[in-house]
Subunit: 299 residues, 2 copies
């Protein structure tokens, strides 16, 4: 079974999401055009577009009317992009490069970067709840999708994880703290992506729970591999600074367990994730391939 | 007709909204408790609670089941609070005091202030879309309320206005630019508040348009009076720095028109706002009193 072209699969959905950005994220007024330019700069800066791929692959288990998913996949990628812009700010991780390009605040200044992030976060909800561009999504589904996004992205999810990450720089990392950070900073939104596929595909509650669990496991594995790549990769391969987490005393898996044991943990997590979706049969193939990629990726 | 106690009216709803904050904005995990503390610091810092009052007063024209409005009024005040935290940041307006208390970043640091703002913005949507705490709001109404909030608060609304405001510091203010800034930075969200009352009260489309127009006019008048108070008031009366806008070359009405003409414009706007709601009869009394207050307030 080596006939699955994951790069092509992910690229296919990435293109749809990027087309949506181009058509939807446009300036309504000359006074805000600089803001929209800054938003589009970060949206267009590439990246793996992994979250949209997780949404589409999960949805494919339950339905095949993929077109109606595009605005939702775009909304989640937009929310992810806001979090990168704010994380890179001088007061936060103070990063000059992201995906091989200067970070938003390096190009547009701090004030604009803060506002671009705020506007993108708001935009994610606007898109999900926009009846005109989502004629085939019923209101209860819209509300469920947007509510769960808010929970996954807020103080009980992603932002809570980022906060704990900033705090942890000041202390020696403990297992429990590192688990909290990874689970919330990264895995929370990826778990949401996998669950969203089941929500939009009218899955049962048990399916939503299954997909969320699958997403949490690959999300956690993704972050563990991130920690490993930070110490084993080169800046060129990664397109961002390396060794930075370790230098700053960040709470990472490699700091706790070293590279080998970290990779073993990631391997177990992806195996568990695959076991969750395998019972769904052939339609789960993309979910399985994404789980494998998370473990084997080199950047 | 001097028997209306506006202070009591506004305080009555403020208390409900503040009770809601206390019960809902709580930490789910010790790792994020510092974040939630920072969120609650700014939520509890007082303020006029004008936006909730506008929502309740507008709703009162259409319905009297006020209890179901509380989470929505709280959500809008939460969103307003996020915008104050981010506006006060060193990279933005760099304010040390707000409502007579040190600003969020002065107490908790910049990183936490950015994240607290992000979490509050996200929380506003979470609250509006939470089925459990809004058992009497149907999904289409939820989705409409949250969608319109996103439009009013994002790049086409409040954030767009704040961006234009930052940009305008670098140039001489023009009438058209100042109008754009005030309309978007301040009036957009207050117009939304007035419209929201009609949305939640099952008003007709014409009612929603009327209330939005009323809200836009009092919102604009509110900002014009703000500009006037910045040059005529004392720091003690306002509870924040004064003369700062003028010193920084901010785009204000007073810079364009002077104090007297600015007050005449504000007076016309409130008269127009009152004329819009008067046909709704006795139920519009609170809306009328709020419009008068906007013009006459001293802080």
């Amino acid at each position: 079974m080596n006939d699955f072209n994951l790069k092509g699969y992910v690229g296919f959905w990435a293109e749809r999401v990027e087309k949506f950005f181009e058509s939807y994220i446009v300036s309504a007024d000359i006074h805000a055009s600089g803001l929209v330019k800054s938003m589009n700069y970060s949206l267009g800066a590439g990246g793996k577009r992994m979250r949209p791929a997780v949404i589409f692959s999960s949805f494919g288990i339950f339905d095949n009317y993929f077109d109606k998913v595009t605005p939702y996949a775009a909304a989640v990628e937009i929310l992810h992009t806001y979090s990168l812009i704010h994380d890179d700010l001088p007061a936060m991780d103070n990063d000059d490069f992201r995906r091989g390009k200067p970070t938003n605040h390096k190009v547009f200044g701090e004030a604009t970067a803060i506002l671009a992030g705020d506007a993108l976060l708001t935009k994610a909800f606007e898109i999900m709840l926009n009846k005109e561009i989502n004629p085939d999504i019923e209101a209860p589904l819209m509300a469920e999708a947007a509510f769960k996004l808010a929970v996954a992205a807020g103080d009980k999810g992603m932002v809570g994880g980022q906060f704990a990450d900033m705090q942890a720089e000041k202390t020696d990392p403990e297992v429990e703290t590192v688990d909290y950070i990874h689970m919330h900073k990264t895995a929370s939104l990826i778990a949401y992506c996998a669950e969203l596929g089941a929500v939009l595909g009218y899955g049962e509650e048990i399916d939503k729970a299954n997909m969320k669990s699958y997403g949490r496991k690959i999300g956690l594995a993704f972050q563990v591999v991130d920690d490993v790549l930070d110490v084993t990769s080169t800046a060129e391969e990664l397109g961002k600074s390396i060794g930075k987490d370790a230098a700053e005393g960040k709470a990472t898996y490699t700091a706790l367990y070293g590279v080998e044991r970290s990779m073993r943990i990631a391997s177990e997590l992806t195996a568990e994730a695959i076991a969750i979706v395998e019972p769904y049969g052939k339609a789960a193939r993309p979910c399985i391939e994404i789980a494998k990629y998370v473990l084997e990726r080199k950047n």
